[in-house]
Symmetry: D2
Subunit: 288 residues, 4 copies
Amino acid sequence: MPMQKIIFLIQCNDRKGLLAATSHYFYSRGFNILHCQQHSDTRAKRYYMRVELDLGDLKTTRKDLREDFAAFAAPLELTWECHFTDYRSRVAILVSKTSHCLYDLISRHHEGDLVCDIPLIISNHPDLEFISDRFRIPYYYLPIEQDNKSAQEQKIRELLKRHDIDLVVLARYMQILTPEFTREWTGRIINIHHAFLPAFQGANPYLRAYERGVKMIGATAHYASEDLDQGPIIEQDVVRVNHELTPDGLKQVGKDVERQVLSRAVQAHLEHRVIIFENRTIVFSAER
Amino acid sequence: MPMQKIIFLIQCNDRKGLLAATSHYFYSRGFNILHCQQHSDTRAKRYYMRVELDLGDLKTTRKDLREDFAAFAAPLELTWECHFTDYRSRVAILVSKTSHCLYDLISRHHEGDLVCDIPLIISNHPDLEFISDRFRIPYYYLPIEQDNKSAQEQKIRELLKRHDIDLVVLARYMQILTPEFTREWTGRIINIHHAFLPAFQGANPYLRAYERGVKMIGATAHYASEDLDQGPIIEQDVVRVNHELTPDGLKQVGKDVERQVLSRAVQAHLEHRVIIFENRTIVFSAER
Amino acid sequence: MPMQKIIFLIQCNDRKGLLAATSHYFYSRGFNILHCQQHSDTRAKRYYMRVELDLGDLKTTRKDLREDFAAFAAPLELTWECHFTDYRSRVAILVSKTSHCLYDLISRHHEGDLVCDIPLIISNHPDLEFISDRFRIPYYYLPIEQDNKSAQEQKIRELLKRHDIDLVVLARYMQILTPEFTREWTGRIINIHHAFLPAFQGANPYLRAYERGVKMIGATAHYASEDLDQGPIIEQDVVRVNHELTPDGLKQVGKDVERQVLSRAVQAHLEHRVIIFENRTIVFSAER
Amino acid sequence: MPMQKIIFLIQCNDRKGLLAATSHYFYSRGFNILHCQQHSDTRAKRYYMRVELDLGDLKTTRKDLREDFAAFAAPLELTWECHFTDYRSRVAILVSKTSHCLYDLISRHHEGDLVCDIPLIISNHPDLEFISDRFRIPYYYLPIEQDNKSAQEQKIRELLKRHDIDLVVLARYMQILTPEFTREWTGRIINIHHAFLPAFQGANPYLRAYERGVKMIGATAHYASEDLDQGPIIEQDVVRVNHELTPDGLKQVGKDVERQVLSRAVQAHLEHRVIIFENRTIVFSAER
């Protein structure tokens, strides 16, 4: 059985002694630091840190740990989160008609590479219900009719609340969300865009890639924000293409990149390896 | 609906006039050549060709076409195959306990990227039956007991025959096949090896990759041959790794490469883009 | 000594029988087709072909070959070029202050991978003259002063003419050329843009890449056209980056991609592997 | 002007409190930790650390710092090195007849990406002297005649000593060194092997790659050790190839990977980002 861990994600304005103070804090509370990763952005004068502790070293309640750390963090003006790996994040997947990202997420979940619960799939189309059925995940079909877009979105938000969802994954959902939704869920909605942002923002990226004659196509996973395709980027990748591919050929080849990029981004988020500051992300590497 | 095609795969010793003769042959029979790819291996003095024709241009029976082309090919000493894309190849997948390649093959099959029928899955372990069930594919559990290995293999071969199988995919089957099996099925069994061959042939490649301290790990899809891990390579890929990964971490990261490399190799075979000569393959690119 | 070759680049509207007719033409004139590559763009209904012949098979003058082929090509409405590999293209390199692309081009030239003559280097700054000196290549320093931009460009165009230049390489020249210049030299000026076009067109791409928080940076080699950064793309590549890099760090890492992408594009052009149609390129692969 | 730094490379058996102790040590001596990178190899129970300090914070002599840190390190049984970035490492390049790696190293040196001095080039052939001349670097031609191999090597070692060399780069030197040489220079000789080790150890890797029909070729930079091609790997990379390439074609394509892999490895070493433990390296990423 793998060791359970406590993970701290910390950020603050950069200044002297932060590492010494923090590592001393954990040492003084009897914790062994399993892994510690830091980054100083000298340009933004911002400091970021991810600390992994052995949950077995915890001798207090979790609430006490949080309060104790909060007391330590306040004078240093740290912004921080604390996660326990024995809690499984609850993930809702939103889809439309395309299945490749959904298949990839579910199969990685089954193989234990995406550690989370997936209590529901939501869609504005009925097409992918058979996949839900296969994997025994409840499927909510919420169609968007003329003038009911905000009502449909309201139902989605209620479902997310009722199911105690921690993370929303837009696995080619293809709908623009309202600012109310993205603001409430800041940093907790991951979208996949089927292009190498900021190239080909908006619709039909593969057709536009064909017309522009690019020699590589890509995909981008990012946190959803008010401005479409403008949120903080978590992961990107590309694949080499050439003149032999039509827009449909690009689309087929691109599916491979889309599914991988989305799954890697979701995995990084679930493993608490991502810190957001303004419109950029710090994604710490995985030590396994 | 996509256009149905006739695909010729041709190889012979290189000599003058082959392209002119072949293209004239098809032109004279009223065929439009949709795509034509050639390769001259100047070292081996060997010529390879792949021709795509519009099946709609066929004005004779398929048998007549074959006989007519055979008469053309004989004096030129061409080795050739002729495929019709309205026939769906029948694929058997052999697995052991690991599911990631199986999931990938099945999901690509469902999305229409691997055009074939998958009438059965065979395994020496019962572990993956639940996936078979999910996708309504019959699962044959054929355990290998002390001293029954050849009997078990015999059962596999009977199943393949009974189901009119065209291609066998070893999706992490982890068993060595007998020379009788590989000889009978030459060029029709695709295996995935979880290393960048010829590095780390044999068992435990991830552990050995860790011990050697390599900075990339890979996977190799190849046709099975008598000598383990020695058959003609169809596809390879690698992923960058670093000191942060244990052997288990390498294994997890490697799954991504394995599934992609195997699926790409199977797709190339199903699209009749692979020619084998001695221990090497010519893999023509996909024009979509 | 490598075999000298004749290379035909052909394009036309797609129709039946083009391959049969063309291969028969060369066969009937006694040529062995060493390599033949074709591409049908089914969307644009356009056909492209590259043919390599053994120059040793030529039994007429080059002028006669051209006239004979022109007579063959006229009724088929082929657009075509014919090149002889014993002619070395003459290349002018334009630089500004940055040396990495210049070093790369010159060292590949010296190693025999870029087969051409480089009779001159032109710059609007004196900074890189010492490199010219080292490699015994004449250096023309043509500064751009207030209001003399067109006069300076006029001098460049005269130098290109006087030196019988076939190809102009903008190796980080950093100046916008006039439409007169790019029109006269259509398809004969290759520029390197230090970003993955169409992302980050225009100035300061590395700073903007940092600000947008992208996870890969790239470079694009393209033929110069009137519209800045809009010409037909020949080659692109990317490299993975992360939050640890400042804009200056991105710039340093990006140099590696820039120099490779530019050199590969120049090599493809010099090997007559590129066909331009409208704003896209067909880049045939290299068989060596 | 960039900030000058003190860099500590530390390794020891893993145990609790190392980060707290070390960061407190530097804090207590008035140093700001600019960057700190750690790695715990849970399998080998080994701890690695790289610390960057501002040289401007040094208030003692360098000798005093070393003695003070030694006193701190002794009870913790740390193995450590301390480097000052205002010291430029002295690098000797050994070549044979092939120039691409040499050109790449020198041009990166000129552009300021490889920060070091290159006081001499040594070769067993006279072929590349003209490059030395071009860049005003003394060239020592030390031919290997029948039975004089150890005498020739002795001359090399005297040259290295006389020139106070810190690092030897075998830029395709193609000679096996004696165990005496590699032992004396453990961790200070970097070699480039033109294959993806451990595949194709020994001679003629491109020919053997062609014969095996691999779909990617690679290069490996490693510290030289007694056993040929067995030393700790610093960096590797690969490039995709296909059936169109002969062994000579593979060789040409491979040059691009070789030069990059070698230059990246040399840069990592010069920036004090590499720690060796047994036969593996920890290569910390570059924060720029």
